[in-house]
Symmetry: C2
Subunit: 322 residues, 2 copies
């Protein structure tokens, strides 16, 4: 870490830089020194958010800070890893006190909830760009991968799908939310800007699920990564897609398209043997079974009558924003 | 890692993503899964380079790739840590094949030399910004910190100082290099754009040096961090500052100012008990003793006659670039 960003970090980020006994040396030297559990693997993931590409310039900084960490925690959840530490590379056009205070408050809210500590950073001058690397731990045999699904597995997702995409598209592509109440609209925006990483569920999936991924690019795209990595196929029932009351106010074809192709929900998609399913349906987080892994490659959509339906012709999700 | 950058990474970075047995799962899942040595600490550092702030827009991409990794490896060297893995968050204005090939070739040159493997990344669209996080390992008792210098320690540096600053200032502040040969000028530019991280020396300093830091912001600033963290002072002999033949062609006061205040040399500055000094002077890398740690706080500069001299009135180093 270069020295010149010392004061910035000490002023705004100090309350995020303590609390964990496994941080031997945190912020303030050339490297952080960290002690992981000897028998577990280190899980790491780095993600970048760029203004105008991944978020609107007028987003509340609190929400931006919150989401920047949420996307990393979601990657740890998708591996079944326990979060531990994060680093922050923050490029800022100017030293704006109010912005920094709000941004770090958003970061802090999620960091404290998940007991993750800021252990390193670099703050530089330039166009607003946020890179966060998260670090967690998982026993090797418990890690949830993409390439280990098996034919016959049930395909499940947490929470509801398409909410974040509805908010995004209301601004990007003119999707009308007039049929929704103000509360419902606010709910969709909170789903986009304050996603809840599913770390408790991720840990619970250890030794239960065969494969897992988080839904950042849309269900079809992300499930597709599991299928590709596992060299298998899937059949999905579009009438079983979990949808929020807010999303259900939209025309049904729009809602289904969003649930299938819109990203940014940061729910988990996982595959699980049928006989382990009941253990997961009894938890606090809503889990919905939406289909099954097949030995024949390819992804087939059906409705509740079993009739094959066409996938949405174009993605109306996150890709529009890039 | 989001899915959409898969193809970019697979095309240009594939040759950097294999080779180490301690990478259980590399690029291609939500997280990388890594197995560190059970009895050692994990050392991590993240650094960002922004176009127009940390490098000129017309820098050769090969050199930019090389330097982006070098600054991280230098942080590991300054902790005495053995390099292992790195992640790359790359924000690019456009998908430029020639640029990417050259950039990754520069990265690869240094990565292969130090046996560090690319284990994760995120590529996004936006203003050119490069964040690299490096990961290494060091036994706890061997880690080189800033806060552990002792009064009476000799202060040493590797290599020569001020070279990178001379190149930078020739372009930023009009410093004339006319007295230098073309080879000497090219040498200074290679010192700025292709710095050599001192990882072999850093490992050799384990159990020998009391404190260490790498010189990224200038000798006075970086030594100042050791003094502040260790609550001690220092006396430096300005006539003992190691200078290259190229730097010696400049007016002596300019050369000394650069050696004291210019950053980007990425040499190590460390403190060592006098009776361990001989072990370090016998190594391949040039090591020069330039002063001594004192129990009285503050930094005093003297010349070879012992006369106290004033520090340069203004930094002519890296800060001009920010």
């Amino acid at each position: 870490m270069a020295a010149n960003e010392f004061s910035l970090i000490q002023t705004y980020f100090a309350h995020l830089t303590s609390g964990r006994a496994d941080v031997v040396k945190g912020i303030g030297d050339d490297c952080a020194l960290l002690r992981g559990p000897a028998t577990q693997l280190l899980a790491v993931s780095i993600d970048t958010l760029v203004e105008g590409v991944h978020f609107f310039a007028d987003v509340e900084p609190f929400r931006l800070g919150y989401k920047s960490l949420a996307v990393g925690l979601s990657d740890l959840a998708a591996m079944g890893a326990e979060p531990a530490w994060f680093t922050l590379a923050l490029t800022l056009p100017e030293n704006n006190t109010a912005w920094l205070e709000s941004f770090t408050a958003g970061l802090a809210e999620l960091a404290k909830k998940h007991n993750v500590q800021l252990v390193g950073g670099d703050t530089t001058r330039g166009p607003l760009t946020i890179s966060i690397q998260v670090h967690g731990h998982v026993p090797e045999a418990a890690a949830l991968r993409r390439d280990t699904a098996r034919a016959g597995d049930k395909i499940c997702v947490t929470g509801t799908l398409g909410d974040a995409g509805a908010a995004l598209n209301s601004r990007l592509t003119g999707l009308s939310l007039q049929a929704l109440s103000a509360d419902q609209q606010a709910y969709l925006w909170s789903r986009l800007e304050l996603p809840t990483p599913r770390n408790i569920t991720g840990k619970m999936l250890r030794h239960r699920a065969h494969a897992a991924i988080d839904i950042s690019d849309g269900l079809l795209a992300d499930l597709g990564h599991i299928l590709e990595a596992s060299k298998l196929g899937a059949m999905l029932n579009i009438d079983s897609l979990p949808m929020s009351e807010a999303l259900k106010q939209l025309p049904r074809t729009t809602a289904i398209s969003l649930a299938l192709t819109a990203g940014d929900d940061y729910e988990l998609c996982f595959t699980v043997p049928a006989d382990r399913l009941h253990e997961l349906l009894e938890t606090d987080v809503e889990v919905t079974c939406i289909g099954e892994i097949t030995s024949v490659p390819g992804l087939v959509l059906v409705d509740h009558t079993g009739r094959v339906v066409e996938p949405p012709s174009t993605s109306i999700g996150y890709d529009h924003f890039k």
